[in-house]
């Protein structure tokens, strides 16, 4: 019996509710002020972000022209930091402009077919105001971290005059005050962003990679592989992490790399369990069986079919993990085991300033707030992603 092409049971086409109007003159406006056309059509999140990035970066360019120029000149002996900052500045400006220009000129119609789970999750995410706020916060944080050499008013590790500039409260000269070495707290907080963010990012990168691999292997192969791996996980979980951290740090020199490595190598258990659980249930799903029936190799099944399908929860876990790691680094600093001076990390700054909480509140309060808001941003994004990636929780 011949069947009509497309079948009688096709999805009915529904106009997507958020279909946008095409903006006239949007291109022109976006060329001058990226983000403005998006704002005009009521897309405040995207518009404001683009505008903020554009204006902020321009302000840096103008106000800090001397430093930017110093970084541009090849002969000036600019450091790697400066070059990275320069690239960030240029790339950021270009990205804001190009995105806004192209976005404004695009036919404003949302695709409603061929939309992947990721895009759907993205749409759900973009409707979660707090999560978007967090995402914008993270964007700004990374920009700040990368642009630290242009933004910071002073050299973060240069000692000031110990007799006169020590522990100066916030003032116009030092917006966030100075520490016990007469160093500018603002500059240190700005530079500290790089340390804290990279610790979070790299350590979680390591742990998520290990966790996903081991979890997928344990879940997929099952039997003794699973038993052995899960015993190891049990052991690592029950192993007092702090004992390990302290001993390792005593054995080796406490360097930032060691801290990243240790944090990365001890936090994978959660991801492993998560991925294993997901894989165990996925393994029974028929599309994985089908992949086996189609003669796909195990590696292909694991990496092209299992892993992409557990990526959602893993990304959520990673986002939340970055926040946790930043807090953990701060906690380690409390025990004197964090990033060591003179490298400015937020954790070390909070921990070092804590005994002067009453005399010089600005020492630990500002880096502390930096930690709180960074971790908050990551957690908001993580929560938003969790809701967005889980179809059951979507609204």
């Amino acid at each position: 019996m011949p069947l009509p092409v497309g079948g009688g049971d096709a999805v009915t086409a529904v106009a997507f509710p958020g279909a946008r109007r095409r903006t006239r003159g949007g291109r022109l406006l976006s060329a001058v002020m990226p983000g403005a056309p998006q704002l005009l059509v009521g897309r405040f999140g995207a518009g404001l972000t683009a505008l903020l990035v554009w204006v902020g970066l321009l302000a840096v360019l103008v106000l800090r022209w001397d430093r930017v120029w110093a970084a541009v000149r090849v002969s000036s002996g600019a450091s790697l930091d400066d070059r990275v900052a320069l690239v960030t500045l240029v790339a950021g400006l270009a990205a804001a402009w190009v995105w806004s220009f192209r976005d404004a000129g695009k036919v404003q119609e949302l695709r409603w077919v061929g939309v992947s789970q990721w895009v759907l999750a993205g749409r759900a995410f973009s409707r979660n105001r707090l999560a978007v706020l967090g995402a914008v916060g993270i964007l700004i944080l990374y920009l700040v971290a990368l642009l630290a050499p242009f933004l910071s008013p002073y050299d973060p590790s240069a000692l000031g005059d110990l007799l006169t500039e020590r522990l100066v409260p916030p003032s116009t000269a030092h917006l966030l005050g100075t520490d016990h070495f007469a160093r500018d707290v603002l500059s240190r907080v700005l530079y500290g962003a790089r340390i804290s963010l990279s610790i979070g990012f790299v350590a979680i990168g390591i742990s998520v990679t290990i966790g996903t691999l081991l979890g997928a292997v344990a879940g997929f192969f099952g039997s003794w592989v699973d038993t052995v791996l899960m015993r190891i996980v049990d052991m690592v979980i029950a192993f007092p992490q702090l004992v390990l951290l302290i001993t390792v740090i005593a054995l080796f020199q406490p360097s930032i790399f060691l801290i990243i490595a240790v944090l990365g190598l001890t936090q994978w258990t959660g991801t492993t369990r998560l991925v294993r659980g997901e894989v165990l249930s996925l393994r029974e799903r028929e599309f994985i069986q089908a992949a086996g029936a189609l003669g796909f190799s195990r590696a292909r099944i694991i990496f092209f079919h299992l892993v992409p399908n557990v990526l959602g929860p893993v990304i959520v876990a990673a986002t939340l993990g970055i926040g946790n790691t930043i807090v953990l680094e701060a906690s380690l600093s409390f025990l004197g085991l964090g990033v060591q001076p003179p490298t400015p990390s937020w954790g070390t700054m909070v921990a070092d300033g804590r005994s002067l909480m009453l005399q010089a509140w600005w020492l630990s309060t500002f880096p502390g707030l930096a930690i709180v808001f960074t971790v908050l941003a990551f957690n908001l994004v993580g929560d938003g992603l969790r809701d967005a990636l889980d179809p059951r929780l979507r609204r």
């Binding site: 105001r129 707090l130 015993r231 049990d234 052991m235 979980i237 029950a238 192993f239 007092p240 992490q241 702090l242 004992v243 390990l244 302290i246 001993t247 390792v248 005593a250 054995l251 926040g323 807090v327 701060a330 906690s331 409390f334 025990l335 954790g347 909070v350 921990a351 804590r354 909480m357 009453l358 630990s364 502390g368 930690i371 709180v372 808001f373 960074t374 971790v375 908050l376 957690n379 908001l380 929560d383 969790r386 809701d387 889980d390 059951r392 929780l393 609204r395």
Partner: protein, 328 residues
């Protein structure tokens, strides 16, 4: 169930032994030994040697390991170099402190967390939901020692010295110095007063996580058919939420109990430090820097056991609340 419990317990033994062995070598590989920390030019090198001999540190690592393992298997945790007491006695003195602190924190955290989670789920995406999310996450995002210090500043120092609040709390310790002279009721009040700040600091962080979990678990359950059915039957919303949805929503939350134990115990380290609360976490850290190996081993093993037992309890609880799960 009994068989299941026995099997799990038997399975935990090699786990704990493995952890202990690993620990033994990890901490014994660290340079330095307890005698080096007592350094002082009046102390002759021979004296140091004598002390090492008195501690049995002059033996080789495998010998020490064998000795330690045989003693451990017999339940002897050894002798602390720094407390000059059997390790078991040291643990007996500090473990109750930690259990009290973390137990109270756990209870507070679960009660508060579940309540917040329910409110959030019932009013999903409302302003209240988002505000609670934000506040919970705000506390969750704080390094616990910082939160603890803030608590001390606000509820001990400023409350008493600056704002002159009628209620303030002592910044540190487990009881007042005149505790022994108090009557029974006053003793209870006294201990409770000293527990407020540390327990709150510890619980706030946990509660945020529990709230998030409860919220998503509730949201999932609320969409289930039986909840709809209950609604359709015309039951009051309160009954639907509390009687039908909550019970099922709590099932995944219970697994958090096992998951949170390690978090809780490492969290207590910082809380114990800040509040001068003599407990396991602080003892471990001090013992490591004093190279008091027997105490490190003893406390860590106890810690590992508690995590294992905690997971077991979580599994059992899981079976209790979820009739679908049967352990043979």
């Amino acid at each position: 169930m009994t068989r299941y419990l026995i099997r799990r317990t038997v399975l935990a033994i090699p786990l704990v032994l493995g952890i202990a062995t690993l620990l033994f070598f990890v901490i014994n590989l660290a340079p330095g030994d307890p005698t080096q920390l007592m350094i002082n030019p009046s102390m002759r090198a021979e004296v140091v040697e004598q002390m090492r001999a008195n501690f049995g540190l002059d033996q080789s690592l495998p010998v020490r390991y064998t000795k330690w393992l045989t003693a451990f298997v017999r339940g002897d945790l050894g002798y602390s170099y720094s407390y000059n007491q059997p390790v078991s006695q040291v643990i007996a003195q500090i473990l109750p402190n930690t259990l009290l602190l973390s137990g109270a924190a756990l209870v507070v955290a679960f009660v508060v967390g579940v309540l917040i989670g329910i409110v959030q789920a019932v009013r999903q995406y409302s302003l209240l939901d988002q505000a609670l999310s934000f506040v919970a996450l705000f506390f969750y995002s704080m390094p616990s020692f910082w939160l603890a210090l803030m608590m001390i500043l606000v509820f001990a120092l400023f409350a008493r010295n600056v704002w002159d609040w009628p209620i303030y709390f002592p910044p540190s310790g487990t009881r007042s110095v005149d505790f022994a002279q108090l009557g029974t009721w006053d003793q209870i009040v006294d201990r409770a007063r000293y527990m407020v700040l540390p327990v709150t600091s510890l619980a706030l962080v946990l509660a945020a996580g529990i709230a998030r979990y409860t919220r998503s678990s509730m949201l999932e359950v609320v969409r289930q058919d039986y909840v709809r059915t209950a609604r359709a039957k015309g039951l009051r919303e309160r009954t639907v939420i509390l009687k039908h949805a909550l019970r099922n929503a709590l099932i995944p939350v219970i697994t958090l109990f096992g998951l949170y134990l390690p978090v809780l115990f490492s969290g207590t380290v910082f809380i114990e430090y800040v509040f001068g609360w003599p407990g396991m976490g602080k003892t471990i850290i001090d013992a490591i820097s004093l190279r008091d190996y027997p105490v490190v081993m003893g406390t860590s093993v106890i810690f590992a056991c508690m995590v294992v037992v905690g997971n077991l309890i979580a599994d059992v609880l899981y079976a209790v609340v979820d009739p679908r799960i049967r352990y043979e």
